[in-house]
């Protein structure tokens, strides 16, 4: 079935509110999913996968393991990017603003694909950003997102095949690596080599393609499977208050 951007966003906000996301968090979580879906990045599929793990307990806050002026290592405590992406990117942005560039590593974080909107937002703020992570299911797949400063909010999104001797160790399978800079981010080291390797069987979605997908979704609505829509509507009921004669007295027209 088709739904509009506004109604799926409103529904998701209500769902996350019911799941005890914090104020400010549930709005950005909804935006991250809807934006990814509209861009063709399977935001609703990521949501479907994450729903069994989202409980009515507020997730633990991010824990700082190490922090210097240009680096930070954070522990998401096996939480979802839905809860922490905003703060992580705000930290990266703040450090880069002060020091021109910085790197932030997030450990034990799920649903990292949903970080893409916040990475794209960095471009809107005039900051360049590179983020990459190893796929949780397909261990030889590496996801790379690059956004340029003032890029109209659209990054490029690529996946590459890692060698078995990967520069991301197995123990970092749930990690996300971010570089943020006031200058254009030029991937170097292992990431640069991957991107430069013409034989790498990766996929590359350019900003224009994401923009086209987003526009098409805005014009025609978003497709959502009916069972997911029904499940979300049921979850949204949590925030509703049952009616009584007394409650009807507090109603409008």
């Amino acid at each position: 079935m088709k739904v509009s951007k506004n109604e799926i966003t409103a529904l998701l906000k209500q769902v996350f509110e019911g799941l005890k996301f914090r104020c400010g968090e549930y709005e950005s979580a909804a935006d991250m999913i809807v934006w990814a879906e509209m861009c063709g990045l399977s935001g609703l599929l990521a949501l479907r996968h994450s729903l069994p793990y989202l409980t009515e307990q507020s997730p633990p806050p991010l824990r700082s393991i190490h922090e210097s002026e240009t680096k930070a290592v954070l522990d998401a405590n096996n939480g979802s990017s839905l809860n922490c992406a905003d703060v992580v990117m705000n930290l990266a942005y703040t450090k880069a603003l002060a020091q021109e560039c910085c790197s932030v590593t997030v450990l034990n974080c799920h649903n990292r694909k949903l970080f893409v909107k916040t990475i794209a937002d960095c471009g809107n703020r005039g900051m360049s950003c590179l983020a990459y992570w190893r796929d949780a299911i397909d261990p030889v797949a590496l996801h790379v997102v690059i956004t340029a400063a003032d890029s109209d909010g659209m990054p490029s999104y690529s996946t590459y095949k890692l060698s078995e001797q990967s520069f991301i160790e197995d123990s970092q399978r749930q990690s996300l690596f971010i570089e943020c800079s006031t200058k254009p981010v030029t991937p170097d080291g292992p990431i640069g080599s991957l991107i430069a390797d013409g034989d790498n069987p990766g996929t590359n979605v350019l900003p224009a393609a994401l923009q086209n997908n987003y526009h098409a979704s805005l014009m025609q609505g978003l497709s959502i499977e009916e069972d997911l829509w029904t499940q979300l509507q049921a979850l949204a009921q949590i925030v509703l208050v049952e009616s009584s004669e007394q409650s009807r007295m507090g109603a409008g027209a």
């Binding site: 079935m1 088709k2 739904v3 509009s4 951007k5 506004n6 109604e7 509110e17 914090r22 104020c23 400010g24 968090e25 709005e27 806050p61 991010l62 700082s64 905003d86 703060v87 705000n90 930290l91 942005y93 703040t94 603003l97 002060a98 805005l218 014009m219 025609q220 609505g221 009921q237 949590i238 925030v239 509703l240 208050v241 049952e242 009616s243 009584s244 007394q246 409650s247 009807r248 507090g250 109603a251 409008g252 027209a253």
Partner: protein
């Protein structure tokens, strides 16, 4: 006064004056109200609107489609008229059947599309439409008025003005949905692709305007069916006096809190228009004379406005009296060179409703200064955190822009007496009493801005003692619960007018003032409060008719007066 704002070089009134809930609840329609802008547009651009399908049976039931050829695109306005028993006629949002249901759609519709709409539009919230639909709405007959008008027309008579003064419409709309609800087109689509309706609520207002047109056509159709030999059409003056009734309840109130940038923009535009008039409006004998005519018309309008609510009746009487006082004052001050002397006098001597009505009147005198602002009513709504802001700056920002919130003593039970929540009945917003009703654990977040600001400020002051040189992002890592309110404060701190300055949890809160504020921007008249939670009002009363498109247009339909009785 604010020294200057990016949108204007004119001195604007201070937010502490303008954003008080009491003043916002005293606003009246004005030149930039959305109904006024819409009518100007379709009159000036000469939209062509004709029925492409008019299939009503002898009881007035059936399907009608109007083809709307606007300047840039073609649209279709579809109406389904169905039987509704008197006992099922309910204006509450929880109703499930209506006399009329309707939709505004993009482009011409084929039979299959009309069938698809027929299967869903009458269900309203329980149906689904697609991104080709812009607005979904429904309306119920004013049973007594409708029958009376049909009978009069059938008998060859015009309806009596005195009756229409009491109820100036044949139908009341009880909900007008847009912005992507139930699968409809998102506002982003309309704004970017359909310039004819790319102003706030333009499509929704147009739907009500078309409903008004249909209501008279249907009444005339039934009159002819009942008595083909004697039936007459409605006179133009009477027809213009027929508006559309509207019942607006609490559902509209959270909108104002959840769209603070948009509301701030609307207020900024209105205040800019006022400031332009006060700064640049030359006072000539002609202007004084026009103001006198308008004031007389307004006084007569409020004299003709009869509502059951005693408090509103008293306020209408006060308006009438104080408008007379204004005219008397002007007769004694014919040499004034600017209107600021009048508004200063009004602020000192007359009620807020009169002060704001005078602003509406003054704006009528200077369309050249005011009307061009009608394209500035949209706002990019993008609440954002400024994570690098030093905590000391955030504290100062709260103290500067939210002093009104810090002034509330939340230790007092009355300051937290109310809570807002969503009922399981169609997710309708409601207000409960915190200390005696269930549901406070599911209070709608962020509607009580004042309390959230207080909590944030207290945490911030404590945190600053340990982290005096820290920034917002590190504070948020320690206090993630504050994310929403900090984004709000930082976003609205950059806006000219900022948040509505009211503690909506206070026991004495009058939600109806929020409704009145929004309805004034819509451009309604004849406020008829039914409780502190909902209000009846009239839309498009006095507005030009569809049949008058192409004729000379005088944008003077504010304060509609009952037509003189003719046969």
């Amino acid at each position: 006064m604010l020294a200057e704002h990016r949108m204007t070089s004119y001195p604007l009134r201070d937010p502490s004056e303008v954003m008080q809930l009491e003043r916002l609840g005293a606003l009246h329609q004005f030149r930039l109200s959305f109904m006024r802008s819409l009518i100007r547009r379709l009159m000036h651009e000469q939209w062509e609107i004709e029925p492409s399908t008019f299939q009503l049976d002898d009881s007035g039931y059936g399907t009608v489609v109007y083809r709307v050829k606007a300047t840039n695109h073609v649209f279709s306005f579809v109406l389904f008229s169905n039987y509704l028993s008197d006992e099922d006629r309910n204006d509450r949002v929880i109703a499930s059947q209506w006399d009329l249901t309707m939709a505004l759609c993009i482009g011409d519709l084929d039979e299959q599309q009309v069938e698809q709409l027929r299967a869903n539009v009458p269900k309203q919230e329980a149906g689904r439409v697609d991104a080709n639909t812009i607005v979904l709405s429904r309306a119920n007959r004013s049973s007594r008025n409708f029958e009376y008008v049909v009978n009069e027309l059938a008998a060859g008579r015009q309806p009596c003005s005195d009756i229409l003064k009491n109820v100036g419409y044949l139908y009341r709309t009880t909900a007008v949905y847009g912005s992507g609800k139930f699968g409809m087109a998102d506002w982003g689509k309309i704004r970017s692709e359909y310039p004819d309706f790319a102003r706030p609520f333009a499509a929704e207002m147009f739907t009500c305007y078309m409903l008004r047109h249909f209501s008279v056509e249907q009444a005339e159709h039934l009159a002819k069916v009942r008595s083909p030999k004697t039936a007459v059409s409605m006179n133009t003056d009477v027809r213009r006096y027929i508006g559309i009734g509207n019942a607006t309840g609490l559902g509209m109130a959270p909108y104002l809190i959840r769209h603070p940038q948009l509301i701030s923009q609307w207020i900024t535009v209105r205040e800019t228009a006022i400031a332009r008039v006060l700064s640049e409006g030359q006072v000539t004998a002609e202007h004084l004379q026009t103001l006198g005519i308008l004031a007389n018309k307004a006084r007569q309008h409020y004299l003709e406005t009869t509502v059951p609510d005693e408090s509103q009746t008293q306020r209408n009487h006060t308006l009438v009296d104080e408008l007379a006082a204004m005219q008397h004052w002007l007769e004694q001050h014919t040499q004034i060179t600017g209107w600021d002397k009048l508004t200063a006098h009004a602020k000192q001597h007359w009620h807020m409703e009169t002060q704001e009505l005078i602003h509406s009147l003054l704006m009528e005198l200077y369309p050249d200064l005011v009307d061009e602002l009608e394209d500035s009513m949209c706002a990019e709504e993008c609440p954002d955190t400024t994570p690098q802001m030093p905590l000391g700056d955030l504290k100062q920002l709260i103290e500067a822009r939210y002093a009104w919130a810090l002034d509330v003593d939340f230790e007092e039970p009355d300051a937290q007496y109310l809570f807002w929540y969503r009922s399981e009945e169609k997710m309708e917003p409601r207000i409960g009493e915190r200390f005696s009703e269930e549901g406070a654990d599911r209070e709608m977040p962020l509607l009580t801005i004042a309390r959230s600001v207080r909590q944030c400020y207290d945490l911030l002051c404590k945190d600053l003692q340990q982290h005096p040189n820290d920034d917002v992002v590190h504070f948020l890592m320690r206090e993630p619960e504050m994310k929403g309110i900090i984004a709000r404060v930082q976003t609205m701190g950059q806006e000219c007018y900022g948040d509505i300055q009211a503690n909506l949890a206070d026991r004495e809160t009058l939600p109806i003032r929020l409704l009145r504020c929004k309805l004034s921007f819509f451009g309604v008249s004849k406020f008829d409060p039914k409780s502190k939670f909902w209000v009846r009002n009239t839309m498009f009363q006095g507005a030009p008719l569809l049949t008058q498109i192409g004729e000379p247009f005088f944008d003077d339909w504010i304060f509609p007066l009952a037509p003189e009785q003719t046969q």
